[in-house]
Amino acid sequence: MNIQSAQYVNDENGQQSNMLKCVIDEINMWVPIDPANRHYEEIMQQVKTGDLTIADAD
């Protein structure tokens, strides 16, 4: 799984939503912040090892 980018997103009220906007294996994906989701699990693994930083929301 090649996670090229991950970014927090805000909801309509400007609050952080429960989703990450990501590009994984060249594909745009919306990944839920859910430890049971395999993409989120891998994202957090790479954050833990220092290989990935989740960007702030726009």
Binding site: N18, M19, D25, M29, W30, R38, Y40
Partner: protein, 329 residues
């Protein structure tokens, strides 16, 4: 004794007469992502549903749902080597895998004094004859417990049915949750890190890497190689029963717990006329909150196991095309 009585005796008291198969899409019927993927060198879910490839840089393959199948089956899953690697590096490997959800395995009674045996059966065909390894692993176990057994493809290019019965596990319980309860690994090749030891058959243990697949042939050693499998069944008991065929609709619904292709969505315009919103409800409740893949929208929100909402600025015709909801293990 009648045939029915013989079957009942064969199955035994621990095995159900229906819903026996713990494997989903064992007949390789469902392929929501597509029926063929070329140039596969890495991990991931490709071609038929629920099955994934674990690849550690061992060759390049085309994976496909094939119509080459044994009598009684319409489809199989095929690995076709397109770039060979006849000299794998020590850490290379190639595995065909299904991850089984933990809460569906509680009937195994693992981690108790009276665990149940399970039997894995499947039809396999390859030009590459020789020894292969089918391994079960328990990721919930603190010691990464696993259990290997070998099988032999005896005749080239001939469908053969294989049966492997695994002893129960008295020490490693499987969590009752929606995570991975068991990995079912069909090894297709490996480097010396996994092959240089001694194979101990049918024992649950934290096996040293070198002892996991000694003797395993290398399917990647020639571009002439292909390996096909179907009719995969894993069931309680020590006897393999005939493959339990399910309807396509039944199998699709089971697959949709983990992956669903979403229809095109069209949304309503908000009061200001500048934003479209749409919600969708999944056909099947997902295992976990799914990843949503798609391009024609600005944001995704309210994702849960039953559905989600999308939003797009402007007044476009479509909100989504070719989207997927992915809750695979």
């Amino acid at each position: 004794m009648s045939k029915a009585a013989e079957l009942a005796a064969l199955i035994g008291s621990q095995t159900a007469l229906s819903n026996r198969n713990l494997i989903i899409n064992g007949a390789m019927q469902v392929a929501q992502r597509g029926t063929s993927v070329t140039g596969v060198t890495g991990d991931g879910y490709q071609a038929v549903d629920r099955w994934r490839t674990n690849s550690g840089s061992l060759g390049t393959f085309t994976l496909s749902q094939s119509t080459d199948a044994p009598d009684g089956f319409a489809t199989s899953h095929k690995y076709d080597c397109t770039t060979a690697d006849a000299s794998p590096a020590a850490g290379d490997f190639l595995i065909f895998e299904q991850r089984v959800e933990a809460q569906d395995l509680q009937q195994l009674n693992y981690g108790t004094s009276s665990p149940n045996r399970i039997t894995l059966s499947f039809y396999v065909k390859s030009n590459k004859t020789g020894t292969y390894i089918a391994e079960l692993a328990l990721p919930d176990a603190s010691n990464n417990s696993n259990n290997q057994q070998s099988y032999t493809i005896n005749s080239a290019n001939t469908w053969e049915r294989k049966t492997l019965s695994y002893v129960g596990n008295t020490t490693d319980a499987i969590n009752n949750d929606n995570g991975i309860g068991m990995n079912v690994f069909f090894w297709l090749g490996a480097g010396s890190n996994f092959t240089s030891g001694t194979l101990t058959q049918n024992t649950w243990a934290n096996t040293t890497a070198a002892n996991r697949v000694p003797g395993q042939v290398n399917l990647a050693d020639s571009t002439s190689n292909e390996w096909l499998i179907t009719g995969v069944q894993m069931e309680l008991g020590e006897q393999a029963t005939p493959f339990e065929h399910r309807s396509f609709g039944d199998e699709l619904a089971r697959c949709q717990r983990y992956l669903e292709v979403l229809p095109r969505l069209r949304g309503g315009v908000d009061g200001a006329g500048s934003t479209q919103r749409a919600g969708t409800v999944f056909q099947t409740t997902k295992r976990a909150n799914p990843t949503i893949t798609g391009t024609l929208y600005d944001s995704v929100s309210d994702v849960n196991t039953n559905g989600f909402a999308i939003q797009r600025s402007g007044n476009p015709a479509d909100m989504s095309a070719g989207a997927l909801a992915d809750a695979e293990l």
